[in-house]
């Protein structure tokens, strides 16, 4: 089959889609707006709201006079880049720079002698409010673009529950703890699963929770990532199971978890059941118009097979055998 037969259709499709989207926004383009991060604001500090003039902002050097230890740590983190001239082309203005980019304008706080009520406090804010501060800068990448709809924020988990701009244990991503220990702090049941003898090598450091899950949310259930083409994330590494195949093991439509426990299991190959035959018979029993066929009557379970896969070896799919005897 000609691989490029569809290629010529993709370019017009992309152009049409881009023009439609651009026209929608271009027609309603508003003048550039400055973020209102004033703690006195009665509304949630939304990145789309207008903000006052920069006279309320003093700059990070002023903050350093009282918060020197925090400042000295701050300059070792990637956030120091916000203090650089011309660094953030997309976000100009003192309200995007340094300490006040997150904590809001500091003039009232300084004039109040360090009055904590005159500046934004992360301790007393809701998860949505604290996360909005971070997302004002970080939401423009696909990795974080779904956080406002994420299961984490839905459960009251804010950015600062995992990240710490000032007291991070890890230099990379400013995390409070190294993963997976960070994730295990809340997901105790998952920690127990990875402690089982057959498990994905997360504790060994080969892969991380974030290889399969996007902690910032996404469009899939359980905040799962996807393989290319939006297929199951498992196929990122296990691409030989992806197919397409001429003869499909259609149970895969339900996801790999129909047979496997992806974190860890007490069963070999991380299967959901200890005995392979029982797992197969769970589906291959009934005679129905659709769905898997039952086992034939000459499959005497007592005689040969401790596992159906002794014969049905290409169980994830085959290009040569309708009964998966050969790959």
């Amino acid at each position: 089959m000609a691989a490029n037969s569809k290629a010529s259709g993709r370019v017009p499709l992309f152009l049409v889609a881009s023009l439609l989207i651009f026209a929608t926004f271009a027609s309603g383009q508003a003048p550039p707006q400055v973020v209102d991060k004033s703690p006195q604001s009665a509304t949630t500090p939304s990145p789309s709201e207008p903000a006052p003039v920069d006279s309320k902002y003093l700059g990070p050097e002023t903050c350093k006079t009282c918060h020197e230890e925090i400042y000295n740590n701050f300059v070792t983190t990637p956030h120091v880049a916000t203090t650089m001239e011309g660094k953030l082309e997309a976000n100009k203005g003192p309200e995007w720079h340094g300490c006040e980019a997150c904590h809001g304008p500091g003039k009232a706080h300084v004039e109040g002698g360090g009055d904590v009520s005159k500046i934004f406090s992360f301790k007393n804010a809701t998860p949505k409010e604290t996360s909005a501060r971070c997302l004002a800068c970080h939401q423009n990448r696909e990795e974080q673009s779904n956080y406002s709809r994420s299961a984490h924020l839905q459960s009251g988990v804010a950015c600062i529950d995992c990240h710490s701009p000032h007291h991070a244990e890890t230099a990379e991503f400013l995390l409070k703890k190294n993963p997976p220990k960070l994730c295990y702090g809340c997901h105790l049941d998952i920690r127990a699963q990875f402690a089982r003898p057959f498990h994905h090598r997360v504790n060994e450091g080969l892969i991380q929770c974030s290889d399969c899950h996007n902690p910032h949310g996404g469009f899939e259930r359980k905040q799962l990532r996807t393989a290319v083409g939006q297929d199951e994330v498992c196929y990122k590494c296990h691409m030989d199971k992806q197919g397409p195949f001429v003869y499909q093991h259609e149970a895969k439509i339900e996801g790999c978890t129909i047979c496997h426990s992806p974190h860890g299991s007490t069963n070999a190959r991380m299967l959901n059941q200890n005995q392979v035959n029982l797992l197969c018979l769970s589906c291959h029993s009934q005679n129905a118009n659709v769905g898997p066929p039952p086992t034939p009557t000459f499959h005497n379970q007592a005689q040969k097979y401790q596992a159906c896969t002794l014969c049905h070896t290409a169980i994830h799919g085959s290009n040569s055998s309708s009964v998966f005897f050969t790959p």
């Binding site: 949630t44 003869y247 059941q273």
Partner: protein, 823 residues
């Protein structure tokens, strides 16, 4: 790779001398000295703050028990190791020439099964580059998967050292079978990931990426052809993925992205039968009788051996087998994404992708010589091209409307459609003989054949093949065309309310509609040679040849499958309704809760194993009782039902756990926790088995099978403890343990049989991993370390139905002595 001694032998000799040497060195190095690790401040040099650490050492491994199970689960062997090497560089003025930040870390090199290297370099405003290399050595030899159910009885006239339960050495003819772990493998997976972002903070941002995954190595498999012959497979799989993306940020608070991704998958495996161990007669090449030896079931055949251990010539066996092919999957993907907070109080995100992939399998060849006794098949060749497509369209859209400061409405919409048509045109040539030691008879047809067949060199020309009534066609061209698709439409809407800064709730509804459809089409052109030409598709029906069959002048029968219209697709239509709700609370800065629930009901399922309804609840809590103590708790409950007639499916997965973190001083930390997980599932199954429970009802709708409820239960207790104690300024102690114990049960299909189908295995086992270590700061920047790890795996020998290959237990003591230099 060849199978060596393994299986029933439990106790391997301990490596006492090496282990004792390790302990001695630990004592000399330890000697009462323990060290604390200095905080790494790094050094400032040439406009960079540089931190670096390197740790290298030697691991001593002492193992008692099953080497195979240890290698499968742990695979940490003795030898020198690069435990870690890390470099961090940060420019002091953020205006360095080539990079402002660099992070490079490595661990595991020297022989460990997992090696990882990670590199990140960035220069503010100009670029950000990341690279990762990971190696995973995956050794698999757990002797409780794919084993044949061989009873301990050797067939009569077998070699004196023949044992159906043991994997004997291959160099001793007539004794070797592979009854244990016939599907073992030793593969290696290398994963490389590269990503470059150019102008990361500009209005136009460019992204390049490349990923490669390579899997290669030997493995063993089996093929069913009369019996189950044992094959060696050399895997060689590669996936290369290239990514090019661009982000446009001309509109305020809005990003449009386009990604072009190309994925290329390549697989070039070869399978060979190298297990020819038994002689069919003097001067004849040896044959492989397969892995199944069950005298009572006539496996591999009745009277397997004749006098002197000679293979019964009418027994199913392979003289040779090979298969090779080249799979190529080419998948370009176009993806457009959008993220915007342009509109006041509205967050938008969207994604659209299209994939049009092609599957091609080139040079597929499968050849077999030997005998399949039921059909008299003695020589078989198959080849043919495979082609397929994977066409997928995905669209996602999400919106969050911040109605007020405290109320948000969240909507997520998902549409996906994928289709996979594929076809395989198999050319098959078959030659027949009634015996392993009698050459095939080669027929000279005058009829036109659908394929060109090259007869084997050792055949008897111009002779009549010896078919059985079960023999297949002598020459055939078989075209199978299959189609599978799924469409999925999902929409979730939620209302989220922050009642006050300390409490929030949400409630929502999700609707999901899926349509799964499959269809197939088959055409067959075949010729049946005499004798017994009227067989298979051309078996006489009331004395008459069926439609499509034509008797030829040479006595053969040609068959062309009558053209029939494509039948209706098998369609499964599923509608799911979900109610989602939850709450979070932080009544004090020290206390937080969260509760989530997802309740689903559907009108249909695709498999009997899938739930028709489920209820999922999760509760998490965390309480910082004091500055030095924190307690966490976690309850997760999942109940599922598929309680329709003849399924009776129920299941649950319930987990309860807690953990405590203690840090009474800066120098002492202690974490401990416990989790209990109860897993249960049941479903009605239909099967046939000699020795099954008497009185089972017949399977409805399926003649010849009985029906029985198949329950599965697994109760797992997991405990962990970790502590770190900086005893003196130079001395730090570490220790802890992960302890895991499981007890469970599942259905034994053959309770009356001597060889149970279901054995305890890992379902009743313990898995212990205690560890301990000392760090001693020898001098400034130098730290000596001694670490002890224990890996203990034990399957409960007293549990019901333990198998003959048990125990798979092992106890591994590992001591790692290392030196760390850091600044």
């Amino acid at each position: 790779m060849t199978k060596q001694n393994s299986g029933k032998s439990c106790e391997t000799p301990t490596r006492h001398s090496r282990f004792l040497l390790g302990v001695l060195m630990a004592g000399l190095l330890g000697g009462g000295v323990v060290a604390a690790q200095e905080e790494q401040k790094g050094i400032d040099q040439d406009n960079y703050n540089i931190k670096q650490s390197v740790e290298f050492g030697y691991r001593f491994t002492d193992l008692n028990g099953s080497q195979e199970t240890y290698d499968t689960m742990v695979n940490l062997q003795s030898g020198f190791r690069l435990s870690g090497f890390t470099t961090e560089m940060r420019s002091l003025d953020q205006h360095a020439t080539f990079f402002d930040r660099l992070y490079f870390s490595n661990f595991g090199y020297g022989g460990d099964p997992n090696d990882v290297s990670q590199l990140r370099i960035s220069k503010n405003k100009w670029y950000s580059f990341s690279a990762m290399f990971r190696k995973d050595q995956n050794y698999w030899d757990y002797s409780l998967l794919a084993n044949p159910l061989n009873p301990p009885t050797a067939p009569p006239n077998a070699h004196p050292n023949f044992n159906p339960l043991l994997n004997a050495p291959l160099n001793v003819q007539g004794t070797s079978i592979v009854g244990v772990s016939p599907h073992s493998f030793y593969t290696r997976r290398n994963m490389q990931n590269y990503g470059l972002t150019i102008l990361p903070d500009s209005k136009v941002r460019f992204r390049l990426g490349y990923d490669q995954t390579a899997v290669y190595g030997p493995g063993f498999s089996t093929i069913h052809q009369g019996t189950e012959q044992y094959l060696l497979e050399n895997d060689s799989m590669h996936t290369n993925q290239y990514r090019l993306g661009v982000d446009f940020r001309f509109i305020p608070r809005t990003t449009f992205s386009y990604d072009q991704i190309w994925t290329y998958y390549k697989d070039d495996p070869g399978l060979n039968d190298t297990n020819q161990q038994f002689s069919p007669g003097a001067g004849l090449p040896p044959v492989d009788l397969g892995v199944s030896f069950n005298v009572g079931a006539n496996q591999p055949c009745s009277n397997t051996f004749q006098s002197g251990g000679i293979v019964n010539p009418t027994c199913s066996a392979y003289s040779s087998y090979f298969s090779h092919y080249q799979t190529r999957i080419n998948s370009p993907t176009e993806k457009v994404t959008m993220q915007s907070t342009y509109f006041k109080n509205i967050d938008l995100a969207g994604m659209f992708s299209y994939t049009g992939g092609d599957l091609n399998v080139h040079n597929y060849q499968q050849n077999f010589t030997g005998l399949e006794s039921r059909t008299n098949l003695s020589n078989y060749a198959e080849s043919g091209p495979t082609q397929g497509r994977h066409v997928a369209t995905f669209a996602d859209f999400g919106a969050t409307w911040h109605v007020t400061h405290d109320v948000s409405i969240v909507d997520s919409f998902h549409y996906s459609s994928w289709k996979e048509p594929a076809q395989y045109a198999a050319s098959q040539c078959s030659y027949f003989s009634s015996s392993l030691i009698v050459p095939v008879n080669i027929f000279s047809p005058t009829a036109t054949l659908p394929v060109t067949c090259a007869p084997p060199a050792a055949g008897i020309l111009d002779a009549t093949p010896v078919h059985s009534t079960s023999s297949g066609a002598d020459a055939s061209l078989n075209l199978d065309s299959n189609f599978l698709k799924q469409e999925n439409l999902t929409n979730t809407v939620e209302v989220r309310i922050d009642i006050n800064p300390k409490v929030g709730v949400y409630i929502g509804y999700e609707y999901r509609h899926r349509v799964i459809a499959d269809n197939f089409y088959n055409t067959l052109s075949a010729v049946y040679f005499p004798n017994n030409a009227a067989r298979g598709n051309c078996a006489l029906a009331e004395g008459v040849l069926p439609m499509g069959c034509t008797l030829n002048g040479d006595g053969s029968i040609s068959y062309v499958e009558p053209i029939s219209p494509l039948g209706p697709a098998g369609v499964t239509d599923i509608n799911e309704n979900h109610a989602v709700l939850g709450a979070w609370a932080r009544p004090t800065p020290k206390l937080r809760f969260s509760f989530d629930a997802d309740i689903m009901s559907a009108n249909n399922t695709f498999t009997t194993y899938s739930p028709l309804s489920y209820q999922e609840f999760r509760v998490k809590a965390n309480y910082k009782a004091a500055s030095w103590v924190s307690v966490s708790g976690n309850i997760s409950i999942y109940n599922s039902q598929n309680n329709v007639t003849n399924v009776n499916g129920f299941g649950h997965n319930r987990s309860y756990g807690f953990s405590v973190q203690l840090q009474p001083t800066e120098k002492l930390t202690l974490d401990l926790g416990y989790n209990y997980n109860s897993i249960y599932s049941q479903v009605l199954i239909c099967f046939t088995a000699t020795g099954s429970e008497p009185g089972l009802p017949a399977c409805p709708g399926v003649t010849g099978l009985v029906q029985q409820l198949s329950p599965y239960s697994s109760n797992v207790n997991t405990g962990f403890i970790d502590f770190s104690w900086n005893v003196l300024s130079r001395l730090t102690l570490h220790g802890g343990a992960n302890l895991n114990g499981v007890s469970g049960s599942d259905l034994n299909l053959t309770p009356l049989s001597l060889v149970p189908t279901s054995v305890a295995g890992s379902l009743n086992s313990q898995w212990y991993q205690p560890y301990g270590g000392v760090d001693y700061r020898i001098a400034k920047r130098w730290t000596g370390r001694a670490m002890w790890d224990y890996y203990g795996y034990h399957e409960n020998a007293t549990a019901t139905y333990q198998d003959t290959y048990a125990p798979r237990n092992f106890r591994g003591n590992l001591v790692m002595l290392s030196l760390r230099y850091a600044f």
